[in-house]
Symmetry: D2
């Protein structure tokens, strides 16, 4: 069975997902595309034999669209997702699920009223082989009960439009989700330390930041976010348990010995780092939709990540420890 | 455009390629399957919506079959590939291309008479990301002119049917191909050293073996083949050039520290080690067929590998250095 | 020239230093030993051809003692060191220099009145080849201005007498000193996070702890102290600068591949981890004494470490961020 | 007890051993020094409070010389060692023990007539912590019966005086000794492969060379010798046994991430690589002499290494497999 997909948003991420659905993933076909830039929608749709449509309603309502993929501007996500739920169609939404936690909650409420899972959020790290093997090891009890997680999220550089709150909302949100998932635990408070700023940044930006989280079970998580580290894109994660530790591997790369150095390349682009994760994520989404319902990160995960990143930004601005105030998780999302 | 594929041979490898063409690769569809076991053909074909056909002729001749994938018993490869060439259809043939070098040459001759490339041989290591990056580094001149390559090919264990000649024909043949490709060079002689045999083997088997090759440009290659190494499936490769070295990375795996040890897992199965390489190989084959003609390992590469592995077996049995006697490469395969 | 040493304290550490001065270090000879247990002093002294003396005064005052090494119970350090200064003799004092910051300051004041350096404190990590190479790299500007340091200090287990304040006073004190030295910077505040406690501890102990420090220049330092980590003695340190990072290497150990694992040993004992550092430390101390005056960690470093570990313990108990209140450094110690 | 040492040869190696005996090793004192350059002998002797003597006889015969260290030109070794045996004094001889196997045998014969061990040969790798741990692992049976050893010995560059035979006599001799010791086995034949020569060498030199050895128990050893590898001094060794492998670790070095690379330094100088091994070697020699007799590499090891390197050079020149022809080992050396 082929899953026919309608795509909302044909920018860089949307176009990449359309390419992936067409040339990497099996069992899916892109049928319709919309974008606020109609010309871009037409160009991208044309390249894969799909048709461009004027707006969300037309894509979601199209008779040959089985499932919807939302990759538009973040502020538009919530309305597209709610419309897809209204139409009873499965919807994959790139992170963030919505730009406010309230909207995330509206989505979760709508989905619960629908009575079955329709929504999957684009937290692709859960599909990275390294993180998956870490989770298998943790779940197997190989390191005992987890007590601490140490993370670093480093980008070589960011554009001037990147501002301090994005360190939580756009960058650390990946660690927030993946740590919740690795530990099967919820984050209850956030604190932010502000080291001396690197000189290699725009004036308005606090970079780096060190985010400190506490979980419901008392584990402690520290996340270094450093988005102008210059040397590359580098993701580190080590979980420390009662009897051992496990560390996310660096990407495999040949070691070259020349001129007094043994060196491996560090990736420069996050798209290279998680290319396989994106492929697996979308393949599994397509497979799960074909099988009945999405099984990946849920609307509740999107809501929790929004609450935690909001608390983190408040902690950054206030200098205080801020509770995340996440509601009790409904059984629907257990 | 979808490439419609007919598959000859539905055993373990064939069934795996059918799964890959159906659920991993995009742009391909399996239409027809044959196998000497008609029941197996029917079962596998049915699982992917294809039809089972009685023999090679029917698969190759089917009007809705654009290209052929041969994954039958090695002794049957040559006739299937020659028939596909006769029909003017692109054909992917699992290694070996044929069980004799003469048959490989017959295939290359037929292909040249056809006037354009039709044949690709299943040397999947050329699609492994680690080997590809090694080749990029070597071709970029980062280690200078290559002088030596050190390889190890270790399997945890082999079945009793595995015999000493298979160390070259079935095992080292992958190193033989990948080294020719890494160095853009030809192998001109072979010698085999026979270390003390491991006790963990069947009586008839010389295991391990150390194969020594010389190339036309004077590089030296050593390949340890050890197919009962017990601890796992482990592939090592280091190229040494005039100004540096490059080493194939081990697969990325989380490091776990427990009980006085820091450890990573070693894979047990070659299918896990080269899973990504197989996926890329078949995707690129499908893409190249859709674009006109296969671009991967050629019939000539299949012929050369056969000549080299034959010489290696002769070297094993005679204890002497044996020339490979590969003919001059036709411009067709330049 | 041979430096004749008198040793105060012949317990485990003292006896080890006596062995080191006798059989590892060149240019030194142990002449006199004292201990609160006279029998132990006699036994240890006899084994190296030295004489046992009844107390500090006799050792420090002995005509054939050029320099003093203090390795007694921490509470006794201050009086021994002050007496050595009074006698104008160089004195190496195991950490802590004194059990109160006030006593450290008394020592620094006495040394300044003496007018030249006499005191060296036993912060041996500054002599570890890995840390030294890290400092060389940082000082060379290879990673740019340091912004953050991430540390972990893990012991397999501790005895029941170990209590929560010792995590700062006895364990993290090594990180406190080595980070001050790596960064050429001072620590101005401390905070302590208390993760869920491991089940593998005595009831009274908060283990692990995460200590957070800020330096005068605004760098941030986090130190995980986990003294019942079960798997071994493991010291981690990564400095992150404006243009790169540098990480302390693990001890070199052969990698063994067996039974599906590639593994290296993790050391169990801190004495093995820093054995070379101890040897270099004492050799350089002897050499510097022979050359005129000690050049290693000073009484001021001992005072600063005491102030910082006191602030850390207060932070642990109060849950607040606590300023270290270190006085301005006299030019004498620049 | 102090071992009073007389040193024959005050060139680079001799002067380094004199420094080591004086400032690193404990329990030894250099009393007398001789050199063919009397001025050099005087200068070096003077720097450590020893006296310069006119020749071997005076040094060996001096009443205050307990043991002799020979670090002169290789061609002079045999006579010095024989004279020390004649005088009944323990003698440490830098490699080679003698420049001909016959002379090595004369030494072994003289030592046996003396009736107890006096001679130790300077094969310092047996004292390197990495090799020692490898031997411990092999001897413990952790990798099963050893079947193969893969080695590489790479120097950044060599002077013009270095010629092809030195690859065996001066360079691979270290691997020859250490492999015999690691395997507790004897080498019975040698073969040499000659890869294409690097352009970065003097015209007369075959560089690199691949040496192939077989042991009495049937293990196979390959040693890449590449003395103009440009990038650094790099020693690799991997032993492969029936159930696993063990690999010599690279020297521990901080990893630096900058500018798209994660890199560690490669040492440039063999003296840095084996500095600790030299220190341990001489300390243990001094300790063993003080305890009665040397326990390190014996005259027989020196003889075997000479026979094997001679066979290797013959194999290089003849292109054939050459038997080493080592005599049966006397019980004296068991």
């Amino acid at each position: 069975m082929t899953v026919n997909v309608g795509v909302i948003g044909a920018g860089m991420i949307g176009a990449d997902h359309i390419r992936r659905l067409t040339t990497v993933v099996s069992g899916a076909r892109v049928r319709a595309v919309t974008d606020i830039d109609a010309g871009r929608a037409a160009a991208v749709a044309g390249s894969v034999g799909a048709r461009a449509l004027p707006g969300d309603a037309e894509v979601i309502g199209a008779g040959d669209v089985d499932a919807v993929l939302v990759a538009s501007w973040g502020a538009a996500h919530a309305e597209s997702v709610l419309a897809a739920i209204e139409a009873g169609k499965p919807v994959f939404c790139e992170k963030p699920l919505a730009t406010t936690a309230e909207d995330c909650l509206r989505i979760a409420d709508a989905e619960q009223r629908h009575g079955a899972r329709l929504v999957q959020v684009g937290f692709m790290r859960r599909y990275d082989p390294g993180y998956r093997e870490m989770k298998r090891i943790i779940d197997a009890g190989d390191i005992g009960t987890p007590l601490m997680v140490h993370c670093a999220h480093r980008n070589a550089t960011v554009p001037e439009s990147y501002h301090s709150a994005m360190a939580a909302h756009d960058t650390a949100i990946h660690e927030i989700d993946v740590v919740r998932w690795l530990l099967s635990d919820e984050i209850v408070s956030a604190q932010v330390l502000t080291p001396r700023r690197t000189a290699h940044r725009f004036e308005h930006l606090q970079d780096p930041q060190i985010m400190l989280f506490e979980t419901a079970d008392g584990a402690r998580v520290d996340v270094e976010v450093f988005v102008n580290c210059r040397y590359g894109y580098d993701i580190q994660c080590e979980a420390v348990g009662e009897t051992g530790t496990v560390r996310l591997p660096d990407p495999a790369a040949p070691a070259v010995r020349t001129a007094g150095r043994s060196a491996t390349s560090v990736l420069q682009d996050w798209k290279d780092r998680f290319a396989e994760a994106y492929d697996v994520e979308i393949q599994e989404w397509v497979d799960s939709v074909a099988a009945g319902a999405p099984a990946g990160p849920s609307a509740w995960d999107g809501y929790a990540a929004a609450m935690i990143s909001d608390a983190t930004v408040e902690a950054l601005h206030s200098g205080r420890i801020v509770g995340t105030g996440i509601k009790a998780r409904p059984d629907f999302y257990a």
